[in-house]
Amino acid sequence: MSAGVGVDLENLWIRFGDFVAVRDANVHIKGGDFFSFLGPSGCGKTTILRAVSGFLDPSEGRVLIGGNDMKGIGPNKRPTALIFQNLALFPLMKVWENITFSMEIKGASARERRKRADELLDMIALPGQGDKLPSELSGGQRQRVAIARALCAEPDVLLLDEPLSALDLKLRQHMRTELREIQQRVGITFIYITHDQGEALTMSDSIAVMKAGVIDQIADGKTIYNDPSTAFAASFVGENNVFRGRIKQIMGNEALIETNRSGTLLARISTANQGRMKAGDEAMMFIRPEALALAGEGAAGSNIVSARVNHEEFEGNVFNIFMEGDGGKELKVSIPNVGQSFDDHTGQNITLQYATENAVVVPAGELAAE
């Protein structure tokens, strides 16, 4: 992959009156990366994107694109192209005019523009649709036209603001793959904004998890999923069972947690927090539903949890068991469907076990709202 142009945010603060939308963001985005900002709505991720594209001036700090400070440079002078949440295709222009708008601005001839539009239409698999109006296209087609329009401007950085949120599930999944392919083909930096962790995980080289204006963790998808550094990251990305408690004892990279309702359990301290936690600290332990397995009768140890089955659910690829432990503690267990037979466990007490490396301990903190 070509080097591409990187983007850096240095000590970026953005305030609207008293409200702090972005708090001291420091991000280094490598050139040619597919980088996602992931967070719930209102966490400031769109604000960051607008600061990068130049529609918004940071209150403090700097935005650097390709190492150049972008202060005072308007959106029309930056080497970025933005794909808007609602696409913002020009409704009165035909598809080919939409796509080549950036060339029209530079005074290219209609013939040149037409030629380039046809190339791009081929690339986005919409050949021969140039003479239609955007309103005559389907949602997915419009989506691709918006991408072509942005790419036509030959930006160094492509910014995407939840572009898939208006599409239905099937199309969304299809477009994920397509976006990733396009990104790898053109080799420029993509900065992608989403609240959908599935999109972020499937497409990104790196993900920044954001919460209320603060960046919690920046890492690749696997790390974020398996080794979250904060309680928010752990609970926002994917499903997780949380156990609140207090650290009883630290043993190297592992810790013994005195949980409030499920006894003492052993877990791994997440990489970012290793060496920073000590006995007596409030802590949270997370175990993914798929990391729990049914244990044999009478199993005992510090990696065993028991609970009563509340109800069960067959989801196709997995079999979900919802359980209630001591004191109302809720647990979800997902068992992959590999053709085995499932007994109905409703009402029974079940013992579950997990591998210690799959249970992660982080300092106690705010969880993502359900």
Binding site: N76, T80, S102, E136
Partner: protein, 429 residues
């Protein structure tokens, strides 16, 4: 349809009354343009004539008024639409807390009486003119300039209302997208916002032109040496009207109907084309084989437009070859006969009365009024008076020879000697 209930019938009756109320005056006025009497009237129908149209086009003052109205209209359209667009854009940009206040200020000119706007325009620019030390013939005291400025003060508000309605549906992201793709603010405005606003700008321009064209109460203070059509008409009406004004009204009505139908037809056609395009497959669009619907197919407005156009051509054609002289001569002959009959009748009556007086002898009665016609209206309301040539209001005092003099249709309205009889007679015209 089968079951004509009471409600249904009353709705139809209501509609009939409603439309008669709306359109009745227009239809009657249009009809009077083709009747030959010199006072606009529909009954009695005398002769079909087109002379009032030629009379209209020979009237220098009317033509000059139309020309001035068009000049003022054009100026007002340019100024009002520009100011309206600026105002509308400002409304979307302004700090939200100020928006309500700003809106009220901008809308205020609509609520202020036109007379006040007229006077204040005159006074204000006169002051400015003097402050700058310019003479009475300077540009700032020019009638055209003042009228355009005066009318634009409130017409711009109308335009702004029309433009704001469209602007509210504009997605600001479109401008941002254009900027993001490298356009300057001017380019984004010209290539994205302006095309989006075009239909509203056209509506606002039409509205502004019509509002300017029909404006009287502001213009009456500002027109200076450039009387517009409404001013000319108002001045003319003071001295009595002829069907030439009906002819003008008819032309305006026809033009309006024509424009409205043309607009409707083009909108309908666009819809049909868009529908056909939407249904078409890619191959059809590609090969250019797509058959678009014809201009007249399922487009009632277009059909009506063609009918009106044909009717207009037919009427114009008839007018070119038709000569009402024969008819007018016949009518005049008939009227002359009727008048003679009446004169003889009256003579006979007078003869009879004199005989009676001679018999009574005792009291001398100075009032020998044959028809009791001493109101300021003269013989206007006397159907027998509708006689021919308009040689006009000579002496029609009722005591002396009433039948001979009072044949102008207006009776003695314009005779100052008649004002003692009844007041405000002239205003009835």
């Amino acid at each position: 349809m089968k079951n004509l209930s009471f409600t249904r019938i009353s709705i139809w009756i209501y509609l009939a009354v409603f439309f008669a109320y709306l359109l009745g005056p227009l239809i009657i006025m249009s009809a009077t343009a083709f009747n030959s009497p010199s006072f606009p009237r529909m009954t009695p129908w005398e002769c079909l004539t087109f002379e009032w149209f030629s009379a209209l086009f020979q009237d220098e003052r009317i033509l000059n008024g139309i020309w001035n109205s068009i000049l003022v209209g054009a100026g007002t359209v340019v100024l009002s639409v520009a100011m309206g667009l600026a105002g509308a854009l400002m409304l979307t940009q302004i700090w939200p807390k100020l928006r309500a206040t700003y809106y009220t200020i901008i809308i205020a000119p609509i609520l202020i009486p036109g007379v006040v706007i007229g006077i204040s325009t005159l006074v204000f620019w006169d002051r400015i003119n003097r402050m700058l030390g310019l003479g009475a013939d300077s540009f700032l005291s020019n009638g055209l300039f003042l009228t355009v400025i005066g009318q634009s003060t409130f017409i711009a508000s109308y335009c702004m209302l029309v433009l704001v309605a469209r602007l509210q549906r504009y997605d600001v992201a479109l401008t941002e997208a254009a900027l993001d793709l490298g356009a300057t603010h001017a380019q984004a405005f010209r290539k994205v916002l302006l095309p989006f606003m075009r239909p509203a700008i056209a509506s606002a321009a039409v509205l502004a032109f019509l509002a300017s064209f029909e404006n009287y109460n502001t213009t009456t203070f500002t027109f200076g040496e450039y009387p517009t059509l409404t001013i000319e008409l108002a001045q003319k009406v003071r001295y009595g009207i002829t069907p030439a004004i009906s002819a003008l009204a008819f032309i305006i009505v026809v033009l309006t109907v024509f424009a409205a139908l043309a607009n409707e037809a083009s909108i309908r056609r666009k819809e049909l084309v868009a529908m056909a395009r939407k249904k078409a497959t890619v191959e059809e669009l590609e090969s250019g084989k797509l058959r678009l619907p014809g201009f007249l197919s399922s487009n009632s407005a277009a059909v009506a437009l063609v009918v009106v156009a044909c009717a207009t051509v037919a009427v114009a054609g008839t007018a070119a070859v038709y000569s009402p002289q024969q008819c007018i001569a016949e009518v005049q002959e008939q009227k002359r006969l009727e008048t003679e009959q009446r004169i003889q009748e009256l003579r006979r009556q007078r003869e009879l009365r004199r005989q009676e007086q001679q018999q009574q002898q005792g009291e001398t009665a100075p009032q020998a009024q044959p028809s009791g016609n001493n109101s300021g209206f003269g013989g206007v309301f006397n159907p027998g008076n509708l006689s021919g040539d308009s040689s006009s209001g000579e002496d029609a005092s009722p005591t002396e020879e009433p039948p001979a003099g009072n044949n102008s249709g207006f009776g003695g309205v314009f005779n100052p000697g008649n004002l003692s009889g009844g007041d405000g007679g002239g205003s009835d015209n």
